[in-house]
């Protein structure tokens, strides 16, 4: 099933990617080409095969619930696009 332009617009919205209208035909073609490659998977018989998420099948390691990091807000906010009084600034969300 090939993606239509409207599908690509929906995916781009889900991914919060602002695309130019002029790029959409080219992107739609490229995604369809990639999904054509990916669809070769459907010919593989995987009945009863358990999915593999971690190559060594390790599970998440747990650690004691202790504070190990110090506060580095100033260092981290020094590289932010816009901050004020220790807060990250974004455009107004609530009118």
């Amino acid at each position: 099933m090939a993606l239509e332009r409207s599908d690509v617009e929906k995916i781009a919205h889900l991914a919060r990617l602002g695309l130019n209208d002029g790029e959409l035909p080219r992107i739609t073609d490229a995604l369809n080409s990639i999904l054509g490659l990916v669809d070769q998977m459907q010919a593989v018989d995987t009945d009863g095969i358990e999915p593999l998420a971690h190559p060594l099948e390790a599970s998440q390691r747990l650690r004691p619930d202790q504070v190990t990091e110090s506060n580095q807000r100033e260092a981290y906010q020094a590289i932010a696009p816009s901050t004020e009084s220790g807060l990250y600034l974004v455009p107004k969300v609530i009118e």
């Binding site: 993606l3 490229a30 070769q40 998977m41 459907q42 095969i49 590289i79």
Partner: protein, 483 residues
């Protein structure tokens, strides 16, 4: 001085033939002089390097020893480096000065290595040609009209051009081994979990692994020794002892069982590469290895599965680039959604956007089972193939790539054509296995690599076999004309 390997530098520093400061100064001058031809560095960290060199000389004067103490390194520009731009090859992070060191960067600095700079790469490590970098394409020192491979293309080109003896890279689907093959280097992707991913900007977290690129297996052993080990900060780091890789280099290959997967020698492989691979097998047989044909029947399914798993993980990992906390922010956003969309639309390049969208689609409601779960099932089939093969053989050998380096731009209009070049390397990432590429000859003046794959945590075996091979061949010593 630029001809020296890491091992030779270690001896020269130990016997005081030169100081780290002298060596560092000479290499920095060479980087400035030569790199404009190949574009392998994104940032040169001259002040940092000279400070580290003087500190290493002082440590050595105080009686400290160590193979890496005072030796040069450059890091792929996705290893966070404190106070230094860490761009990931992207406009998105052009203004990002990392607020901390990646574990790999910190470990190598503690061992006394001198950071000359940060190397060019495909944007967010997505690519096989190093053409998707915001900082421009990297050129292959063996032929400046050809790509160096990717995504660690800058790391490979810098070493191939004799700017420095070794660099770090990362390998998600072949991004260390493939550029090593295309530039006549030895490159090692360790077992998943062997080297800490902490501070390595994530592409596909279940596949990414850092490792060394150098001219010799001996140098890769020295560098891996400094990089490997358990790290509590990386939740997927594996707590396994790290063997002495240099001590194992000279082990006998008598009776070593090498498997040649028949699927690696089928359609699509340049027959001239097939011949060189067979010649390398003959050399290993002379050293005592025993060769048999094996089968990895699910290999052909690896690329389709990879192009679901990697983009799916990327779409999740790259959601952090939102224009709020760090990185690029668009001009005058009109609301929060516009801020997100335009920052990401303007900050990410075309290939990164494509992979984010493929991943977003594969994970979206209604498609998750057909794509993501199916790909993970195929991932297990591929792992099972390897587990069965390693019952019969100690090592698997084949070509690293189906073709030598292609011309700049030749595959940039068709992403799928470039994806297919990773056919032999992707399986090791899906299975989490260690793999190494080593120089094995030339086709039309362009280097050819042979890939070795081993069971989990057998990096030492890969280095041993490559080192013994390099004792009886001289492909790895060849330098490109003009460098």
């Amino acid at each position: 001085m630029h001809e020296l390997t890491l091992a030779e530098i270690a001896r020269g520093l130990a016997d005081k033939s030169f100081s780290s400061e002298e060596l560092t100064g000479a290499l920095l001058a060479r980087v400035k002089q030569i790199d404009p031809q190949i574009n392998s560095f994104i940032s040169v960290t001259e002040a940092l390097a000279l400070g580290q060199a003087r500190a290493a000389d002082a440590r050595r004067a105080a009686g400290e020893t160590g193979a890496l103490l005072g030796a040069p390194i450059a890091h792929k520009d996705l290893f966070c480096t404190l106070g230094v731009r860490t761009s990931c090859g992207s406009k998105m992070l052009d203004n990002f000065k990392a607020p901390y060191d990646a574990t790999v960067v910190a470990k190598l600095a503690e061992a006394g290595m001198v950071t000359l700079g940060k190397t060019n790469m495909d944007e967010f490590a997505m690519g096989s040609a190093n053409e998707s970098s915001h900082y421009g394409a990297v050129k292959n020192p063996w032929n400046l009209e050809h790509v160096p491979g990717g995504s660690s293309g800058g790391s490979a080109a810098a070493v191939a051009a004799r700017l420095l003896p070794a660099t770090t890279g990362t390998d998600t689907g072949g991004s260390i081994r493939q550029p090593a093959a295309l530039t006549n280097l030895t490159g090692l992707k360790p077992t998943y979990g062997r080297v800490s991913r902490w501070g390595m900007i994530a592409y596909a977290s279940s596949l990414d692994q850092g490792g060394p690129l150098a001219r010799t297996a001996e140098d890769c052993a020295l560098l891996l020794q400094g990089m490997a080990g358990f790290d509590a900060k990386d939740s997927t780091s594996i707590d396994e002892p790290v063997p002495d890789y240099s001590a194992g280099l000279n082990g006998s290959l008598q009776g070593l069982r090498i498997g040649l997967p028949k699927e690696y020698f089928g359609a699509g492989l340049d027959p001239r590469i097939a011949e060189l691979v067979q010649a390398s097998v003959k050399e290993l047989e002379k050293l005592g290895a025993v060769v048999k044909e094996i089968s990895l029947p699910n290999m052909q399914h690896a690329i389709p599965a990879y192009y679901v798993i990697a983009p799916a993980e990327a779409s999740s990992n790259l959601s952090r680039f939102d224009g709020v906390r760090f990185g690029y922010r668009c001009e005058e956003p009109k609301d929060l959604t516009d801020l997100y969309k335009r920052s990401r639309g303007e900050g990410f390049g075309a290939e990164v956007q494509r992979r984010i969208m493929v991943g977003t689609y594969a994970l979206s409601a209604g498609y998750y089972d057909a794509y993501y779960v199916k790909a993970q099932q195929i991932r297990r089939l591929i792992k099972n193939d390897f587990m069965a093969a390693f019952n019969d053989v100690d090592l698997i050998l084949g070509p690293t790539t189906p073709n030598p380096a292609w011309k700049l731009g030749a595959k940039s209009s068709d992403p799928v054509a470039a994806y297919l070049e990773d056919v032999y390397t992707i399986t090791a990432n899906l299975a989490g296995l260690p793999g190494l590429s080593m120089p094995a000859g030339f086709v039309d003046g362009l280097p050819v690599g042979v890939q070795l794959l081993a069971p989990y945590f057998q990096e030492g075996r890969l280095l041993n076999v490559a080192h013994r091979y390099q004792q009886v061949t001289d492909w790895h010593t060849r330098a490109p004309n003009g460098f």
